[in-house]
């Protein structure tokens, strides 16, 4: 029965691959757990310990991918020549990790250069915000609801945030009840140069990631180790800017109307919330937030500014 045996071997293959994947995961997780426990014994908090362990591993997904590719690579090369083994050995030993580090550095360097000007947030595509070297993320659809906002690293002064951050609110989709104490992870995609970020929601379902390198992330929510599929709504763009430079904000609503302003008082748009201390008239406060719940585009124009 050739057909049946082919089907059987197909399934065997799939199961084998799953097994290999499971083994790889268990092996690396054992390492992460052990390092985490050591940090805990050294007096770190649980979150810090885990984060430090993951930092040491340098991105689990990236490492897995490296090992997977290596499996494929070696199998292929074996067919070629006997010497290939040795050549690959030295090559892959150094390159994988150094490459990851340099690329990570590069992406850091890029985001410090940014003094760019336009941020678009289109609520209808579940992405906040589009920005050259900013944090982007995507999620799957599901029963939980994440309301997220992202901050943009336009500030070059010493007192403001250079790094994108992501904050949000998790709630149950139907009841709107906050999801407290669930594990929230940002998994970088593509994996190698960027590390995953972990946090937990507080009692109100709030979470917050700071100092993210510019990359695309997948937002994953876990409760007691089980994935909760989530929906996101592009809620807000929050920006940290220096107080001594003029900025303008324009918001395009779904119906095409535009609102523009040079300080929060002039922006009489419902959905725009500002926080932070008011500063010199005509200037934005050091911290403000735009909330636009109509599906539309929020555009923030920030003029290029001189570096200090």
């Amino acid at each position: 029965m050739p057909f049946l045996s082919r089907v059987m071997s197909f399934w065997r293959n799939i199961f084998r691959r799953r097994k290999v994947e499971q083994d790889l995961n268990d092996e690396l997780m054992a390492y992460v757990e052990e390092v985490t426990e050591r940090h805990l014994r050294a007096g770190m908090t649980a979150d810090a310990a885990r984060e430090a362990a993951l930092l040491e591993v340098g991105g689990l997904d990236g490492l897995k991918q490296q090992i997977r590719q290596q499996h494929i690579g070696i199998r292929g090369l074996r067919k070629l020549a006997a010497f290939a083994g040795v050549a690959v050995v030295f090559f892959s030993a150094g390159i994988g990790s150094t490459l990851a580090v340099t690329r990570w550095k590069e992406s850091r360097a890029q985001s410090t250069h940014t003094e760019t000007s336009a941020v678009k947030s289109d609520a209808s595509v579940n992405r906040v915000p589009r920005y050259p070297s900013n944090v982007m993320f995507y999620t799957s659809e599901g029963n939980a609801f994440a309301e997220v906002s992202s901050s943009i690293p336009i500030c070059v002064g010493p007192n403001c945030s250079r790094w994108p951050s992501l904050e949000g609110l998790l709630s149950e989709k139907k009841t709107q009840a906050p999801l407290a104490n669930v594990e929230v992870t940002l998994v970088p995609a593509p994996p190698p140069p960027v590390l995953p970020h972990f946090t937990r929601t507080d009692e109100y379902g709030r979470f917050n990631f700071n100092a993210l390198p510019g990359s695309t992330f997948r937002l994953i929510v876990k409760s007691r180790g089980v994935d909760i599929p989530i929906n996101t709504r592009a809620g807000a763009v929050s920006v940290a800017v220096p107080t001594d430079a003029p900025y303008s904000v324009s918001v395009t609503r779904k119906d095409g109307t535009q609102v523009e302003g040079h300080n929060p008082e002039k922006l009489k748009l419902t959905g725009i919330v500002s926080f932070g201390k008011p500063s010199t008239p005509g200037f934005l406060p050091s911290n403000f937030r735009i909330l636009e719940y109509d599906k539309g585009t929020v555009e923030l124009k920030i003029p290029n500014q001189a570096k200090p």
Partner: protein, 113 residues
Amino acid sequence: MAGTRKERMDLLRGTLDLLILRTLELQPLHGIAISDRIRQATRGAFHIQAGSLFPALHRLEQEGWIAGQWTTNDNARRIKSYTLTAAGRKQLSAEKRVWERIVVAVTQVLETS
């Protein structure tokens, strides 16, 4: 941190296999224990991080020089420990010879005035 990691990397290039094979020659060990043992043996000169350790282990396993076995530890966690195979023993002595030649050659260069 990135900088120091790169330095370690360069230091290790080519010697990592040798260190792992030698460590497993003494007894079977799992990932982090291998790294610990190497660190102890080199008095902290080599701290092999997961990013280079695991790719190396999987590569050596694929070459057939080491073999992984699954066991469970006290916390009922699955642990993969590695044993040196007969082929690995052979490879180890070959790499030792290569290493000795490198040491001799480099020393000669350094001592040439």
